[in-house]
């Protein structure tokens, strides 16, 4: 069979509409994208794939039961061949994922890529960010060492403080009134089932919207040049992905994953601390009363979701001054200060 005959045969079985290449692969992108920093949007997606692959591998040995969870993680880390690599990559990628998502969000925020008509893309993005934190939190709980156990206890207890819906939500999440054997099963399920499923749907929606809207020209950039999505941009993304992968493998090889002491529900360790990405909220919870901490967190999340509209209103009140950007930068600075404060205390 000749090549063209094969092509025809495939085209007949998979009848893509004519011109699909131009619409999807060869879309012209504004020239400002041709800087490396704009190739970061795809990094979270690449990391997500890393998480799916390593995560599936981890499930082959992980046992989601309080009696065995810690032991199984130990087995993976120190027993199973290349277990340290798989777990190390999963851990490293989860941290990088948060960094990548944050960088992407900051980039979109500063260039105001969320403005009309792209609000929904932003909203989905915020949801993805929160789910990323959810994945990190539930995943951390599964390790079942001292820090992970107590971080889970403290983290979930916050929910109980929400009036009316709080306690039932907490019961639902924990599978009981306290952290109990059911809790681990539920967290496991959230981590590998519920959240990833929603995640995939949202990623698809996010990317679809990005492609449907096309890439906005940069504010103040007059260059009219363009370059194609495929292969140019895809290659750039691929290069970034490769560098990230190599860096992770090198890092994990140099600093293999560790494991703390086994979780002891009877003993709160004297130095408990969540992972670094929860430092800002952790520090915040230390310095303000619980209800204040809770409601400011809720306000923060709502504020993020509605940011495109808030910014538009601010723009209308004080045109041309980019008040919104300053408000946002203020928030970033506060967050950073809280993070560093916790990190160096």
């Amino acid at each position: 069979m000749s090549l063209s005959a094969l092509k025809t045969a495939v085209a007949e079985r998979i009848p893509l509409p004519p011109g699909w290449r131009g619409k999807t692969l060869e879309e012209q992108l504004p020239i400002h994208l041709k800087t490396w920093i704009w190739a970061l949007g795809g990094t979270p997606a690449v990391l997500f794939i890393v998480q799916v692959v390593t995560g599936v591998l981890l499930t082959f040995y992980y046992v989601a039961q309080p009696m065995h969870a810690y032991e199984s993680v130990r087995q993976i880390t120190f027993g199973v061949r290349f277990g340290w690599l798989v777990r190390g990559l999963h851990q490293a990628a989860s941290q990088l994922m948060i960094v990548a998502v944050l960088l992407h969000m900051i980039r979109v925020f500063v260039t105001r890529g969320y403005r009309r008509p792209r609000e929904v893309t932003w909203v989905i993005g915020v949801a993805l960010f929160l789910l990323t934190l959810g994945l990190a939190f539930t995943g951390y709980a599964l390790v079942y060492d001292q820090l992970s156990y107590w971080a889970t206890t403290v983290g979930t207890n916050m929910i109980a403080e929400v009036p009316v819906v709080g306690p039932p939500m907490l019961y639902m999440l924990r599978g009981g009134a306290d952290v109990n054997p059911q809790t681990l099963t539920r967290f496991y399920n959230f981590h590998i089932g519920v959240i990833p499923t929603i995640f995939v749907v949202l990623i698809a929606g996010h990317i679809l919207l990005v492609r449907l809207h096309g890439v906005a020209a940069l504010e103040g950039d007059r260059r009219a040049d363009a370059y194609p999505f495929f292969p140019d941009h895809v290659l750039r993304e691929a290069a970034v992905a490769l560098v990230v992968l190599i860096a992770m493998v090198v890092y994990v090889t140099a600093v293999p994953p560790e494991l703390g002491e086994k979780a002891d529900p009877n003993l709160t360790p004297s130095h408990i601390r969540p992972e670094w990405y929860f430092f800002p909220s952790y520090r915040w919870l230390k310095i303000v009363p619980l209800q204040v901490g809770l409601w400011t967190s809720v306000a923060f999340v709502i504020g993020m979701f509605f940011w495109p509209w808030t910014d538009a209103v601010l723009e209308r009140i004080v045109p041309g001054r980019r008040v919104g950007t300053f408000v946002g930068i203020g928030f970033w600075i506060v967050t950073l200060v809280l993070l560093l404060w916790e990190a160096f205390s």
Partner: protein, 161 residues
């Protein structure tokens, strides 16, 4: 009447029937799927047993140092035993902030300390520092033959491991 009927020619019959059909179908869908969804939620919602008060032995009275305190794990929960000038008091040792276990740390300022966010409680169980919003719940305590007995409130677990 007539003009209205003319303005929307042949609107009527089949359109209305279709509209009603759509309405019935949507309602059936909402009721059906909603019903199923509530069942699924009920399936997920744990049956939470009611709280019970039980009396448990909590070690010997002389294990609690004068004007000091200890935190004991009674299997059914953690209890802080505090000595206040000879009087023995028992509190839940679960921090009212976000649920860590407090530890005894007798100073002039406080008697119990929570490492998680730096919560501090005095010998009355009152908050004297840090973010906890409420005092520690106090439990009735009794000493019989040098043995400490505490009446604690417990909630049996939903499923045991």
């Amino acid at each position: 009447m007539d003009s209205a009927a003319n303005a929307v020619p042949r609107a009527s019959g089949s359109d209305r029937r279709e509209f009603v059909a759509d309405l019935v179908l949507s309602a059936a869908g909402i009721v059906g799927l909603g019903g199923l969804a509530t069942r699924f939620l009920q399936y997920l919602y744990p049956v939470v047993p009611p709280e019970q008060v039980i009396e448990v032995a909590a070690g010997r009275r002389d294990a609690v140092p004068a004007n000091g305190g200890i935190v004991v794990n009674l299997g059914v929960g953690h209890v802080a035993l505090v000595d206040a000038g000879g009087e023995l008091r028992a509190f839940s040792a679960v921090c009212t902030h976000l649920g860590c276990i407090v530890k005894a740390e007798p100073t002039d300022h406080h008697a119990l300390y929570c490492a998680c966010h730096g919560g501090m409680f005095d010998r009355q169980g009152e908050v004297v520092g840090g973010p906890p919003p409420r005092p520690l719940p106090r439990y009735p305590v009794e000493v019989r033959d040098g043995q400490v007995f505490v009446k604690v409130i417990v909630r049996p677990p939903v499923l045991t491991a």
